[in-house]
Subunit: 221 residues, 2 copies
DNA sequence: TTACTAACGAACCAGTTCGTACATTAGGAG
DNA sequence: CTCCTAATGTACGAACTGGTTCGTTAGTAA
């Protein structure tokens, strides 16, 4: 019943450009991943931030550039993870399997990233094209794959003459599809590709598939 | 220089419910595939039709139901194509390879369908869930795969104990990724997965991969 | 202490977008 | 030929949305 108005606490507007910028990126990542580029609302992003819409335009310029910034950060995080991969101590077969599993795990752990990539493909990668930072700077994973492939062929273990980028595509396609198409696949076949009980099953299947392809006996062909 | 106004031809408003409905679906499919669900504009769909926006609401009820109808038709077309598959005269290895190639070809030939599926996944298949027609009625392809797998195992050619739905996922993931992620993959690695020169390369790679997995020597495992 | 600027907030605006109310007519049933 | 209704077209509006204008203030350099 108190008719006394709350003094609407001054909220001690502390100034911290880096924090504000990062917070906008965090929220924007969620919102874009949730609703797609067009479906994401700048007002909604601002509302879920401790700052205002004005700041989004102040720091990023607009919705398009904000999405580009979101993509840039997401990809830079993935590259960072890839750089920490260490499979040099393993034999080629084990190394490839390990790498496939790491890719599998990373996709599963970052569904928002998968969604962002799917969304960017709907828009034909126009935001990536507009980014200087994202210009064809190769993923570290490719170099790792290349080294393992060379070793595997040198030792006679690998018969397939696939190159690193194509092998990366093969591994990624399985990992990506499992997460990206989870919902339509589930609706059509009543099977949840990302169900916890199935995790080991699919992880093993991926490794088996890649190794089988690389080591297949092609002498009869 | 004729200042005589064109009589704005009466356009002979012929009435044909089926045609109007089908035309709306055609244009809507393009527009949704182009811009995503949220990005698609009802006014734009109407403008590219020989009828008006009023008819979209008259026949479909609204944007959501229109998108659901688009998905229903797209999936029914795919099922129709799957039903025409005939691989019964082939041995299991050749049959699986042929089936994989047909899936490959279908994905390549229908990029709009791929985009619609990707878009529907962004929306967590909520429109498919709202459809009675799309309720878990299995794809004919699954039955075909099941038969081939049984035959392959019976004859001792296939060693892998994978089930039909998972094999379908394996094949689809490669075909789907190649089309759906064409743009981001191209931007990152400078390689166009859908380039015509590469078509045979990837088609063969898919078949090799699936056959290698199914026939891999697991005696040493 | 003062002055200056980077960082910030509230309110607003113009264009858009889905959806609807109302009026009209083609074409078939009788 | 007449009447009835499924089918169609026009015009409009309320809510939303990206972006901007204008004014304020925290922190800091001198």
């Amino acid at each position: 019943m108190a008719t006394v108005e709350e003094p609407t606490r001054p909220a001690v507007r502390t100034r911290d450009a880096a924090r504000t910028r990062a917070e906008i990126l965090d929220v924007a990542t969620q919102e874009f991943a949730r609703a797609g580029y067009t479906g994401a609302r700048v007002d909604e992003i601002a509302a879920r931030t401790r700052t205002t819409k004005r700041m989004i335009y102040y720091y990023f310029g607009g919705k398009e550039q904000l999405f580009t910034a979101v993509l840039e950060r997401a990809y830079s995080q993935i590259r960072q993870a890839e750089q920490e991969v260490d499979v040099d101590h393993l034999d080629p077969v084990a190394a490839i399997r390990r790498l496939a599993e790491l890719t599998f795990d990373h996709h599963e752990a970052h569904p928002d990233f998968i969604r962002l990539v799917a969304i960017e493909n709907i828009h034909e990668a126009e935001h990536m094209a507009a980014s200087e930072q994202l210009g064809a700077l190769n993923s570290p994973a490719i170099e790792v794959i290349r080294r393992i492939l060379d070793a595997g062929r040198a030792s006679g273990l690998f018969s397939a003459d696939i190159d690193a980028v194509d092998l990366h595509a093969m591994i990624s396609s399985f990992c990506f599809f499992r997460v990206s198409n989870r919902h339509t696949f589930g609706a059509l076949f009543g099977r949840d590709l990302v169900a916890a009980e199935q995790r080991e099953h699919y992880r093993t299947m991926l490794g088996d598939m890649v190794i089988a392809y690389l080591t297949a006996d092609r002498s009869e062909a």
